[in-house]
């Protein structure tokens, strides 16, 4: 984590363009059929159990196995590679870009993700804190819990198989928690953001600056 953060540059970047640009790729090889057009608003799955599907972005057909791919991000279709409509594409080919308007909270999270040490999910699974860590969090709150390399911090639960996860990173406090117990996390997604104790004031400064400089909720 660096101490050298140019807040003005970071904030002006987000002020001038308060959006995330999320690229959408072909999930596997197959023939794609676009179901959205440029400028169209798209929404993610909704409902108590996310049972209301998000906007269908495209269909992909491989050997008569048709899949419907829905939006994972709210926003507007900013760009779409229309030349690929109806064509056979390779896995990972970029199909379109969604322009997602950032809220203040998301901007803070984005900046924090640049300055915190992130600990990522080793496998797609459900995660919960190890009992010892959870009891410390319950007593003092996550930001008062310091973890060291080698500490058993999480349990990964997959198909009734519970695996301890050991922390590999710099010593620090658990500043941000990006998962909810019992909710699946994709492999590689951040689970926690860790900050060295002496750098906590720097993190607080970031949050204060964004809150002060960012009036609207966008």
């Amino acid at each position: 984590m660096s101490n050298e953060i140019d807040f003005d540059e970071l904030l002006s970047k987000y002020k001038s363009d308060p959006f995330d640009y999320v690229d959408v790729f072909a999930i596997h090889t197959g023939r794609v059929l676009f179901k959205v057009v440029e400028g169209q608003e798209v929404t993610v799955a909704a409902g108590e159990w996310l049972q209301i599907p998000g906007t269908t972005l495209y269909e992909i057909d491989r050997e008569r196995n048709m899949k419907t791919i829905t939006a994972q991000t709210n926003g507007i279709v900013a760009q779409i590679n229309t030349a690929l409509d109806g064509q056979f594409v390779e896995a990972g080919e970029k199909l379109m870009t969604i322009k997602h308007p950032l809220k203040k909270k998301e901007i803070i999270e984005n900046i924090l993700k640049e300055v915190l040490s992130l600990f990522h999910a080793p496998e797609s699974a459900k995660y919960f804190f190890a009992m010892d860590v959870q009891s410390r969090i319950d007593k003092k709150g996550a930001k008062a819990v310091t973890i060291d390399p080698g500490d058993e911090i999480l349990t990964m639960s997959l198909m009734k198989r519970d695996t301890p996860i050991y922390y590999k990173g710099e010593r620090g406090v658990i500043h941000s928690v990006y998962f909810k117990p019992g909710v699946s996390v994709e492999q590689g997604a951040p689970l926690i953001g860790v900050c060295a104790p002496e750098k906590l004031p720097l993190i607080q400064k970031i949050i204060t600056r964004v809150k002060a400089d960012w009036d609207s909720e966008h």
Partner: protein, 283 residues
Amino acid sequence: MAARVDAAAIVRYGSIVGSVIECHTSLPRAMEHARRNIAASAGSNRAFSSGTVVLADTMSQCRGRFTRSWHAPPGGVWGCMVYANTLLPRSRNFIPLAAGIACCETVREFGGTASTIRWVNDVLCGGKKLGGFLVEGYVEPVHGEEFALIGFGINVNNTSFPDELADTAVSLKQVLGREVDLAAFTTVFLARLAWNFGILCYEEGRELSGEPLSGRNGRHLLLEQWLNLSDTVGRRIVYGFDVMTAPQYQAEVMGLDATGGLILALDDGFVKTELSGEIRYLG
């Protein structure tokens, strides 16, 4: 169509299961005992034997998932198997299935022909739980080698349960109306477990060499056997990560995906796949 399997190869792969068997009169908890032994072996620079089975006639601090109690008096098969984690992540998903299948097959072989598997690996008879399994990872502290500890609890000849389990648990003796030979039951269970772990390695080998898996339509052989033994597909269920204390939603089970995930249709038609958590049948 299913592929012909090389049974000799499967037996070879699985033969380490039970290569060491520890029998105890009583233990607090087999998994903790195994952890201590693994750590002690690592501390003295000795490799711990993968496939080691720890058995105890009774266990005093037995537990199921979360903080649930599991009663382990004399008459049951209580213990754990230690497996050095040499499997790829995809195959590790099937470890819990391998244990449940071994138990269900054994119960059927000893006369409990109505036994079935409820996702993930609960073995039921007449809607009551006869066998339960818990898989926990353990990384030994000296060299960082990872082990899977497969805990098992099977109600065989024990017939008394504490009040909180009386309505939901059953033993094979209660189902059959007679005792079974516990040593013979345990032997068959471990043999089935060895076969199933052999399948795990065998199927992994086929996949790595680009061959189709051995079940029908290229399905994993353990998944196929699970489907043969389970009554979960087609049932109406309630799902939850901890379904007893925090049920999340009701759904109908559509099937299993290739990784063992449960495909569920919610009441509004939305279909989702759960890779973790547990279910209870409704009706």
